[in-house]
């Protein structure tokens, strides 16, 4: 073990203030990241799950599936565009979900589909639904009945699926006919014709450039349709981009503060260690060795703070009410730790000049 780590282990008290501050920032970072992930995934799951190259919507919808209507004639035109391999209809209705035996109405997103959704089996029989696991918290159970919307359209829960929410409402995946019924009984004014959908999930032939197919679709529909990549459709969801940039901003600032905490701590510690470093230099230690020691302590302290902060975060998330969409994810934890290590290294590097400038002769000098 290096001197730096021995010191950290034998004198943890000296590092307590920094560890506490870092641990607090770790909790902040993990909860912010968890909230960002929860919001993002809860908002976008249904679209991200589309096993498609393009999402075709009405131009007037301003890139929103909710506002879009695509009639059978346009669907035929899209299907006829060269390079298009499959076309699958999509529809969505945001409804209140009544779970028999429960007083509260849950929020659901009824998604009509024709297959081609990752993680969701083929459409169930009429009157059945695959339901996002998110709705379990509202009392939804396999085999039980749900009543969808004000029209109280009954569906039976076939089974659960994951990460298929739309605008933070749990996905309820039904065949298109069931979706149309929900829509008709829920909002008679918005009722759609028997073959009408809201969007088309399009897959292109292998080796064909989706961008060119998208342009051809726009031309074929005379400008009535817009074709987006799935990623673009995800970004176009209300709030998603604003959420992402806001949270990323806060997370970056928090990482900056973590770097500052480490930087200030080691700036102080280096002052305190002037004599020790001078002696070690007099004995033949190089500035590089001492600097590596400082960086080692910074990284090790970050690791300790991260583990402690991670445990606290897990505890806090477990205590969080189910309707707060916070999700702690391993990939986010890894990225957060990486960011903290970089911040800590940059922070500790601020002491580098001071370490280099310590003159052993003046430190060990006279009485």
């Amino acid at each position: 073990m290096s001197l730096a780590l021995i010191e950290l282990r034998r004198r943890p008290g000296r590092f307590a203030a920094m560890l506490a501050a870092l641990g607090f920032l770790v909790v902040l970072l993990l909860l912010l990241g968890g909230l960002l992930d929860g919001l993002y995934r809860g908002s976008t799951g249904a679209l991200r799950a589309q096993d498609a190259d393009l999402l075709v919507l009405a131009s007037q919808s301003r890139d929103s599936l909710l506002r879009s209507v695509v009639g059978p004639a346009d669907r035929r035109r899209v299907a006829a565009v060269p390079g298009v391999r499959t076309v699958r209809g999509l529809g969505v209705a945001l409804v209140g979900v009544t779970v028999p035996g429960r007083d509260e109405v849950a929020d659901g997103a009824v998604l009509g589909y024709e297959g081609g959704v990752r993680g969701v089996p083929l459409p169930p029989r009429p009157g059945e639904a695959w339901v996002d696991r998110r709705l379990r918290a509202d009392g939804v159970r396999e085999g039980r009945r749900l009543l969808l919307g004000r029209g109280r359209v009954p569906v039976r829960v076939r089974g659960f699926v994951d990460d298929t929410s739309y605008l933070l409402q749990g996905g309820i995946w039904v065949r298109l006919g069931t979706w149309r019924r929900v829509l008709r009984q829920n909002r008679p004014d918005a009722a759609l014709g028997p073959r009408t959908v809201q969007g088309l999930a399009v897959r292109v032939e292998p080796g064909v450039d989706p961008g060119r197919v998208a342009a051809a679709i726009r031309r074929a529909a005379g400008g009535r349709l817009e074709a987006l990549t799935v990623a673009a459709a995800v970004d176009a969801l209300p709030g998603v981009q604003a959420q992402n940039s806001t949270f990323r901003g806060i997370i970056s600032v928090t990482l900056g503060i973590a770097g500052l905490v480490v930087g200030l701590f080691f700036a102080l510690v280096t002052l305190e260690r002037t004599v020790l470093y001078g002696v070690l230099k007099a004995l033949g230690a190089s500035s590089a060795q001492l600097a590596v020691g400082v960086a080692t302590q910074a990284v090790a302290a970050t690791l300790v703070a991260f583990l402690a902060g991670g445990l606290v975060s897990l505890g806090l998330v477990a205590l969080t009410p189910a309707d707060i969409p916070v999700e702690l994810r391993a990939d986010r934890a890894v990225v957060t730790f990486g960011g903290l290590v970089v911040a800590a290294l940059v922070g500790s590097a601020l002491s580098l000049r001071r370490v280099v400038r310590i003159e052993p002769a003046s430190v060990i000098g006279g009485a």
């Binding site: 230099k281 007099a282 004995l283 060990i364």
Partner: protein
């Protein structure tokens, strides 16, 4: 052969009207297996001389050779490496690493050099035994007496089998019996491994172990008339 040669060494601190001449026309040769006692009043340049001999400072002018190696124009990096390999320092203030045990403080030397083999562990244990510190080997400096700390510092200085041992006023914290024992250890090191030593001391009991006495006054060296 000479282990240490200072030839017409001058050292000044500062510049202009704040310039201090700490050492002037200092010429001194210490043979291998020779111990020189350096005596002189406070502020006369003793620490400066040791610092130059040990490669902590570069002389303003003159020449410095240790074990045949001319270190006069060494860069910082070269001097660092030189100290690590060839010099054993006992500083005026005992500066042990506070969070390391006595034994670990000795092992700081091989650690800095990137060595960690059986031989260095054995050497550390043998030095601790010779310094009467076997029982204190696993104690932290804070729990050691002043004399024990000083002995740890001496052990540390001997760890890298130096060509030149430099000791700055060691007696202050050593009681007589142990002081003599420790001096005897340095004498043994010097004679058994052809090492030179310069020891700054006011204590005649220490000086007794030296082969030669050199006086320093106001940065000038004087060999006293033989008694």
């Amino acid at each position: 052969m000479a282990s240490l040669e200072l030839i017409d060494v001058r050292k000044t601190y500062g510049s202009g009207h704040t310039e201090v001449v700490a050492l002037d026309h200092a010429t001194l040769t210490v043979g291998d297996d020779e111990i020189v006692a350096l005596v002189g009043p406070s502020g006369s340049g003793k620490t400066t001389l040791l610092s130059i001999a040990g490669g902590l400072l570069s002389p303003t002018s003159g020449q410095v050779r240790v074990g045949g190696e001319d270190i006069t124009r060494y860069t910082n990096r070269q001097r660092t490496r030189f100290r690590r390999r060839r010099v054993g320092f006992v500083f005026q203030q005992v500066n042990l690493v506070p969070f390391l045990t006595a034994r670990e403080n000795l092992l700081v030397m091989p650690r800095i050099a990137g060595r960690r083999d059986r031989a260095v562990l054995e050497r550390a244990d043998r030095l601790l035994a010779e310094l009467g510190l076997t029982e204190q080997a696993h104690q932290l400096p804070a729990t050691l007496s002043g004399g024990e700390r000083q002995r740890v510092a001496i052990g540390r200085a001997l760890m890298n089998e130096p060509a030149l041992i430099l000791v700055d006023e060691p007696t202050s914290a050593l009681d007589t019996r142990l002081g003599e024992q420790v001096m005897q250890l340095i004498v043994d090191e010097v004679t058994s491994r052809h090492t030179a030593a310069v020891i700054v001391t006011h204590d005649p009991r220490m000086a007794r172990f030296a082969h030669r006495r050199v006086e320093i006054v106001d940065g000038h060296l004087h060999a006293p008339a033989p008694a």
